[in-house]
């Protein structure tokens, strides 16, 4: 009787082990493709979260005048690129009641998914997202431009990335950002003036839909800016404040 039970336990263990392995095999065979898709979307969502963290730190740098922040991160399923402002061809042009235009190149911190199609970019204080090889884009988090109706003041924050050269990161790393020079502030006033903003797209990296939705939506002012051709117009603006921040991104 004792002998018998000893033998059966060994066999029982082997059966159990085999069934476990078979189970894993089944999961690998049928569950794997599903899990892979899940992985890609999880990676992308993690990156969206990470970008929001980066934007949070950029807000601290710009709005709270803190000189240095770093974000530690793990970039999975793709890579993170930093483009110096001079290497990007998108432009924001701001003109105010006929005065000289401000032409601004933002630069980018961009994540490109390897397995999926998502491209998530931090530029000019906003987080924008588009799909590779397809039209359209959305804004995941908005910059903090605002129009104060009491004083008819329009406040625009321009955030520019500076990097010594284009660099990329995948895996665990650190994104050191610093703002050691004070922002340039331009604050012309012209009672009843008109502000015209134009976004010039980079056809390989086009976020014009995202910016259009932001400008014409109601986050800056109720009712949004008026779209006139390719430009967005706001009036009356007695006082325009344009603050330009330069954020240097060091070696990752």
């Amino acid at each position: 009787m004792n002998d018998e039970s000893g033998v059966s336990e060994a066999i029982g263990f082997m059966l159990l082990f085999m069934i476990t392995i078979t189970g894993i095999g089944l999961v690998t065979l049928y569950g794997y493709p599903m899990l892979l898709d899940q992985q890609i979307s999880t990676d992308e969502r993690n990156m969206e979260q990470l970008m929001i963290n980066i934007q949070g730190d950029i807000k601290l740098l710009t709005h709270s005048n803190v000189p240095y922040r770093d974000v530690s991160m793990n970039v999975a399923g793709g890579s993170l690129w930093v483009y110096d402002y001079s290497d990007t061809s998108q432009l924001f042009t701001i003109s105010y009641s006929g005065s000289t235009d401000t032409v601004f190149q933002p630069g980018e911190v961009q994540y490109t998914s390897d397995g999926g199609y998502a491209v998530i970019t931090v530029e000019n204080g906003a987080i924008v997202k588009r799909e590779q090889n397809s039209e359209g884009s959305t804004m995941l988090a908005e910059p903090r431009w605002f129009y104060d109706e009491n004083t008819k003041t329009f406040v625009i924050f321009l955030t520019r990335f500076k990097a010594d050269n284009t660099c990329s990161l995948s895996g665990i790393g650190n994104l050191p950002m610093s703002m050691c020079d004070a922002p340039q502030v331009a604050d012309p006033s012209s009672p009843g003036g008109t502000v015209t903003i134009t976004y010039t797209k980079d056809s390989a990296d086009d976020y014009s839909k995202a910016w259009e939705n932001y400008f014409t939506g109601s986050s800056i002012v109720d009712g949004g800016l008026q779209k006139t051709g390719a430009s967005y117009v706001l009036s009356p603006v007695d006082h325009l404040v344009v603050k330009t921040y330069n954020i240097s991104i060091g070696r990752m």
Binding site: E4, Q38, T151, K243
Partner: protein, 124 residues
């Protein structure tokens, strides 16, 4: 032996059931979108202390007749506050103090694009 084999089957079956259950639940949970902004970021963003500071500063002015009754000085201080606020705090701030009888009427306007605060009150 037969009896023990039975038990093994039970264990494996249970294992499978629980495993499938956990996977299923975690799928559902992972479908929920991640919270975009954390609580502490929300706290950092909300300018509670800035507004309290501005309020207490202007209430401090209201006890100083050299500021309330002297529009030149008040204009100067208003210039200081609005220029420093837009430059350093990225905020549009304006205020006014006017005397009416024994009381002082105070107006404060604060707007940083996320939070707008307006106050009109009478200070004794």
């Amino acid at each position: 032996m037969e009896r023990l084999n039975d038990e093994g089957q039970w264990i494996v079956l249970m294992g499978f059931l629980v495993c499938v259950g956990i996977l299923f639940l975690s799928f559902i949970l992972s479908q929920s979108t991640l919270v975009g902004q954390s609580t502490s970021e929300g706290v950092l963003e909300f300018p509670k202390d800035d507004i309290q500071d501005l309020r207490s500063e202007i209430i401090g002015f209201s006890g100083n007749s050299g500021i309330v009754d002297n529009l030149g000085v008040q204009g100067n201080l208003m210039g200081d506050i609005s220029m420093l606020a837009i430059n350093r705090q990225n905020t549009v701030c304006t205020f006014s103090l006017t005397r009416s009888g024994d009381d002082v009427n105070m107006n404060i306007h604060f707007n940083n694009g996320v939070v707008e605060y307006d106050e009109t009150s009478t200070l004794p």
